[in-house]
C-alpha cells in the first residue's frame, strides 16, 4: 500500500479516555491496509477500521512522546502516545490518507472477501426483496399501484419532497395526484400532509421557489408542520453532545446542562412525536398521510420508517427491520454515503440522521421491552456497518448510483451475515404472540428520553453495568427450551414403553431404568453443568470490576502507595474481551 510507511510501532501507550491521571496500557501498534491494530501487554486486541475513523489529530509533543487522538464514527475515541515523533507522523499521514477515500472502488467492501462464491453472494442480496414486501403489505390492490400502504388499514403512508410552489405557483397534476391518493382511501375523504420541517424553514424556502402545499389549492388536505430541524442543526447537536460526554472528570450537573444545551434529546423527541402523529392519523382517523421535508430523504425517511414501525409489528422482527431499512432508507434514496462521510467529500453533508432513527428505535425498545424481536446489540451492529463500508448495502447515495457501482456483483450484503448470527441479536423477552397485531403508542413525556450510553460510550467499558441481565436471561431461556425438549423426549419414551407394557404399575420402575441409559437425559445433565458454569464465569470477568477503573480511586491522591500490578486480576477484569 502506497500510503503506509510504518507498519509497526512498539512501546505505544493507549491512554484511558476518562482517567485524570493518565493511566495507560503499553503495547504495539500495527497498521494494515484496512485496520489499525493495537495489541497491549495482556494480548488484548483493539481493531479500528480505517473507514470508521472520523478524525485524526496529532497533539503537541510531550516528554512521554507524541500524542495521537483518533475519533471514530462509532464513537470510539482512542488516545495513543507514540514514543518517536517520526513514527507518529508517519502513522498520522497514513491514517489521513486511508480514512478518506476519494473513490467508491477503494472502499473496504470492494476488497472484503468472506469466502463465499458468487451464487451465495447473490442469494445474500436476494434475501431482502422489496417486491415481496409490497406484496406482503397488500399492494398493488385495486386502489394502489405503487407506494406504501398498511395492511389492515385502507389508509396509507406516502412520501415526497417539498413542492416547488414559491409564493404562488401551482401544479394541477400534483393537486390531482394528491386527490387520487386521498380517493384511494375509501374510508376517509381527507388526507394529512405532514411537513416535517419547522414552519419558519418551510416559509423561508418559499423565497427560493420551493415551499409547502397551499391548503386552498388542494382539496381535502390537512396540513401540519412537525418541526424537525435540518441536517446541519443535527450535526452540530451531536457534536455538542459528544463534547460533553467526552469531558474528563465530568460532573453530574455539567452532564445534564450539556445534555440540555446540545438539544439532542429534544431532536429525538421531535422525530418521535412526528412519527406518532403519523401513526395516529392512520390508526385513529384512518386518513392517508403524505410526508415530506425539503428533499424527502432525511426527515421524511425518519418519520415514515418510525411510523411504519409503530403501526406494523412485522417491522419489529429482525427480518422485518432489515426490510424497513431497505425500503424506507436505502431504496428511497437516503444519501448514506454523504451523510456518513464514506468518501472524502463535503463535511456539511454529513449528518447523523440514521443514527437518530436508530436511537428512536432504541427508545421504543426501552419503553416496550417485549415488542421487539431484536435487542440493542442489533441496532449497534447496524450502526457499526453503515460506517464500516464493509458491505455494499449502504454505499452510494441513491438506487441509481448503487446500480452503476454494480454493488450486487462486487460487494456482499450485510443482512445474511446478521441473520447468521441471529442468536446474538434476539431479545429474550420478545413476545411475538401478544405483540403481533398491536400498534405501539409510545409516551413521549420528557422523562422517557435518556442518554443512550451504550451507543455513545459503546467502547468505554468502565461506564457500563458490570453484569448483563440480558446474557443470563438469554441463557436461561435456551436452557429452559432444552429441558422442555428433554421432557418431551422422555415422555414420548414413556409412552412407547407403556404401549408395550400393559401393566401400568411398572411404569415408575421403568422410568428409573430408562433414565441412566437415556442419552437425552445425559446430555441435558451435561448441558446443565457445562452451560451454567461457563455463563457464570463469563460474567465473573466483568462483575467484580476494579476500583481502579473508576474515578473515585483518583480522588484519593493520598493513597500514594503504588498499586501492585497483579491485583486487578484478582477481580478478573483485566482480561475482559469485547
Amino acid at each position: 500500500m502506497e500510503h503506509i510507511r510504518t507498519t509497526k510501532v512498539e512501546q505505544v501507550k493507549l491512554l484511558d479516555r476518562f482517567s485524570t491521571n493518565n493511566k495507560s496500557l503499553t503495547g504495539t501498534l500495527y497498521l494494515t491496509a484496512t485496520h489499525l491494530l493495537f495489541i497491549d501487554s495482556h494480548q488484548k486486541e483493539t481493531w479500528i477500521l480505517h473507514h470508521h475513523i472520523a478524525s485524526v489529530e496529532k497533539l503537541a509533543l510531550t516528554t512521554a512522546g507524541c500524542p495521537l487522538v483518533i475519533q471514530c464514527k462509532n464513537f470510539r475515541i482512542v488516545h495513543f502516545i507514540v514514543p518517536r515523533e517520526r513514527d507518529c507522523h508517519d502513522i498520522y499521514n497514513s491514517l489521513l490518507q486511508l480514512s478518506k477515500q476519494a473513490k467508491y472502488e477503494d472502499l473496504y467492501a470492494f476488497s472484503y472477501n468472506p469466502k463465499q462464491n458468487d451464487s451465495e453472494r447473490l442469494q445474500g442480496w436476494q434475501l431482502i426483496d422489496l417486491a415481496e414486501e409490497y406484496k406482503r403489505m397488500g399492494v398493488p390492490n385495486s386502489h394502489w399501484q405503487l407506494s406504501d400502504a398498511n395492511r389492515e388499514y385502507k389508509a396509507a403512508i406516502c412520501r415526497c419532497s417539498q413542492p416547488l410552489s414559491g409564493f404562488s405557483a401551482r401544479c394541477l397534476e400534483d393537486e390531482h395526484l394528491l386527490q387520487a391518493i386521498s380517493k384511494a382511501n375509501p374510508v376517509n375523504r381527507y388526507m394529512y400532509v405532514i411537513d416535517t420541517r419547522p414552519k419558519l424553514n418551510a416559509m423561508a424556502n418559499r423565497a427560493a421557489g420551493k415551499g409547502y402545499e397551499n391548503e386552498d389549492n388542494y382539496s381535502n388536505i390537512r396540513f401540519q408542520f412537525v418541526g424537525i430541524e435540518n441536517i446541519h442543526v443535527m450535526r452540530s447537536s451531536l457534536q455538542k453532545l459528544l463534547e460533553v460526554s467526552g469531558t474528563k472528570g465530568l460532573s453530574v450537573n455539567d452532564f445534564y446542562s450539556g445534555l440540555e444545551s446540545s438539544g439532542w434529546l429534544r431532536h429525538i423527541k421531535a422525530v418521535m412525536d412526528a412519527a406518532i402523529f403519523l401513526a395516529k392519523a392512520i390508526m385513529v382517523e384512518n386518513a392517508s398521510v403524505l410526508v415530506h421535508c425539503s428533499d424527502g430523504w432525511d426527515r421524511t425517511s425518519q418519520v415514515c420508517s418510525l411510523g411504519s414501525l409503530l403501526l406494523d409489528s412485522y417491522y419489529r422482527t429482525i427480518k422485518g427491520f432489515m426490510v424497513l431499512i431497505e425500503k424506507d432508507w436505502i431504496s428511497f434514496g437516503h444519501k448514506f454515503s454523504e451523510r456518513c462521510g464514506h468518501l472524502d467529500g463535503d463535511p456539511k453533508e454529513v449528518s447523523p440522521v440514521f443514527t437518530q432513527f436508530l436511537e428512536c428505535v432504541w427508545h421504543l425498545t426501552e419503553q416496550f421491552p417485549q415488542a421487539f424481536e431484536f435487542n440493542e446489540e442489533f441496532l449497534l451492529q447496524i450502526h457499526e456497518h453503515i460506517h464500516s463500508c464493509q458491505f455494499g448495502n449502504f454505499l452510494g447515495n441513491c438506487q441509481k448510483e448503487r446500480e452503476e457501482l454494480k454493488l450486487k456483483e462486487k460487494t456482499y450484503s450485510l443482512w445474511p451475515f446478521l441473520l447468521e448470527d441471529q442468536k446474538k441479536y434476539l431479545n429474550p423477552l420478545y413476545s411475538s404472540k401478544s405483540q403481533r397485531f398491536t400498534v405501539l403508542e409510545p409516551n413521549t413525556v420528557s422523562f422517557n428520553f435518556k442518554f443512550w450510553r451504550n451507543m455513545y460510550h459503546q467502547f468505554d467499558r468502565t461506564l457500563h453495568p458490570r453484569q448483563s441481565v440480558f446474557n443470563i436471561i438469554m441463557n436461561m431461556n435456551e436452557q429452559n427450551k432444552q429441558l422442555q425438549k428433554d421432557i418431551q423426549d422422555l415422555e414420548s419414551k414413556i409412552k412407547q414403553r407403556k404401549n408395550k407394557q400393559t401393566d401400568g404399575v411398572l411404569t415408575k420402575e421403568l422410568l428409573h431404568s430408562v433414565c441412566p441409559e437415556s442419552p437425552t437425559l445425559k446430555t441435558s445433565l451435561c448441558f446443565k453443568e457445562q452451560t451454567l458454569l461457563p455463563v457464570n464465569d463469563a460474567l465473573r470477568t466483568i462483575e467484580g470490576s476494579s476500583p481502579a477503573d473508576n474515578r473515585y480511586s483518583e480522588y484519593a491522591e493520598e493513597f500514594s502507595k503504588p498499586e501492585p500490578a497483579v491485583v486487578s486480576l484478582e477481580y478478573g477484569v483485566a482480561r475482559m474481551t469485547c
Partner: protein, 538 residues
Amino acid sequence: MEFSELIRTGRAQAQLLRGPEAPPLRGTLCVTGHHLLLSPGPQSTPDLWLLLLRNVDSIEKRVAGDSGTITLRCKDLRVLQLEIEGVEATLDIARSIEALSSLESVITSFPFFYRPKGLRLGDAWHFHPPERYYKRVARETDAWRLSEVNEDFSLCPSYPRAVIVPRAVDDDALARSARFRQGGRFPVLSYSHSPSGTVLLRSSQPLTGPQKRRCAEDEELLRAVLAGARPGARGFILDTRSAQAAKQARMTGGGTEAKAAYPGWKRLHRPLERGRPLQESFVRLVEACGDPEQSMDRWLSRLEGCRWLAHVKEALSTACLAAQAMEREGACILVHGAEGTDSTLLVTSLAQLILDPMSRTMAGFQELIEREWIQAGHPFQLRCAHSAFSHARPKHEAPTFLLFLDCVWQLGRQFPLSLEFGEGLLLALFEHAYASPFGTFLCNSEKERCLCEVRTRTHSLWSGLNQPKEQRKLQNPLYVLNPLAIWPSVEPQSLRLWQGLFLRWTHPPEPAEVAWEKVWQIVTGKEETEASQPTASA
C-alpha cells in the same frame, strides 16, 4: 387523647381519583383514627380502599357549588383526589385529615393498634444486630469485644445497648471518649473486612472546640484500632464535611481530629450534602417529576438544578473511597460528620454493600439496615416526618435514608445479578420509613423505642415482609452469589434517575413490569411448562 375529638365528620359520599391509570372509585368516605376509608356501594366490589393517614404529606381543599375537592399528596409520592358531596362535609373531612395526619405521639400511632392476621406479636424482633454481628467478627479476630457500657443508654442516647469496641479499651475509657464526642457517639465498629484485616468505624465529631481540646482515651481508642488490625495498617478519618466546615465547627464546640494527636491516622474530607439542602433537593426533584407537560429542555434543566443525582454520585463515590481504602490499601477507616447519624451511616452502610457479599442477601440487607440505620440511631422520626410535598417549614427532615436506597438501586442496576433483593424491597423500605403500620421505623433511637415498648407492642416490618406471599415482589429472580467486591461506576453517564420511585405514580412503566414478570417466568421455568406439559403419566 381521643381520636374522636379530632374527627369532625364521620362520613360522606365521595369519588376518589387515583391518577390516569387506575379507575375512579365511588362510595362512602370515612375518617377513622388512623385511616381514610372508602367503601364502595354494596353492588360493586366489596374491597375497601384504605389510606394510612400518617401517609398524608399535604392536603389541599377547594369548594365549588355544593361539593368540594380534596387533594392529598402522600409521603410515598402518590397524589390522590377526592371529590366530596357537600361543602360542609368537605371542609370537615379536610380538617379531620389535617389534624390526624400530623399527630406526633408515637404510642397512639397505628403500629400500636395494628394486629394483622397470621403474624404473632414479637416475631422478628429477635434481631439484635450488634450481638449477632459480634459473633461474626469474633470468629475472625480477637481484637474486638462487645461492650454493654451503654446498657442504660446513659453514655450515648442514640446508640444501642451493646456496641463493638477494641478489646484493649475498657468501659471507663469508653465513657471518657463518649464525653469527648458529640451526643456521646464514641468510635465503634461498623464493619470488619476480614480478607484485608481492616475495619470500618463510625462516630460523631470530636468536641475539640476553639481550644483544640484533646482526649487521651479517645486517642487511645483509635490507637488500639490500628494495633488490632493487620500489622502495619494505617488509618483514614473520613470526614463527611468540607475541611472548612469541619474547622468552623470548632466555634460551636465541635471540630475534627488534630493530626498530631492521632498518629497513624490521616484525615480526608469528602463533603456530602445533608439536612435542609438535601431535603430541598428532594422536593425540587419531585416537583420536576410531577409535570409531564414540560419540554425536554425544561426537564433536563430541572433535573440538573435539583442536584439529586449529584448527591447520589457523591454518596456512592465516598463509600467507594472508604471501601477501596480498606480493600486495596489495607487501611482502617473512621467515618464521621458532625452528629454521625446521617451521612456517616450512608457511607458506612454503602461501603459494606460494596465489600460484603453477605449484606447483599435478603437477610443480610435487612440486618444491615437494622444495624447501621435503625440501631445506629438514624433519627427516622425526625428525618421522615415529612416527605417532598409538605408545605410545613422543614425542621429536621432530610431524605438521607432515601438517598441510601437510591444508591443501592444504582448498585443493583450496575450489578443486576449481585443483590438478592429487587427494586420492590427498596420501594417498600421507602414507604415504610415514611409511614408504616409496622413499628420498625418508629422513634429516633433504640432508647426511645425501649421507652415506647415498640418491640413488645408493635409488629416488626421484617416479619411482615418476610411472609412467603411477599417474596416475589421483593426478590431479585436473577440473583447469584457474587463473592467479590462490587465497584460501581460513578460517572454521570452511568447514573440514572430512579424512575421506579420518582415517577412511580405519575408515569407507571407498565410494559416494563410485564417484562419483569416474563423474567420471573423464564427464571422459574414456569412459562411453557404450565401450558404445554401434559400431566406426567407416572
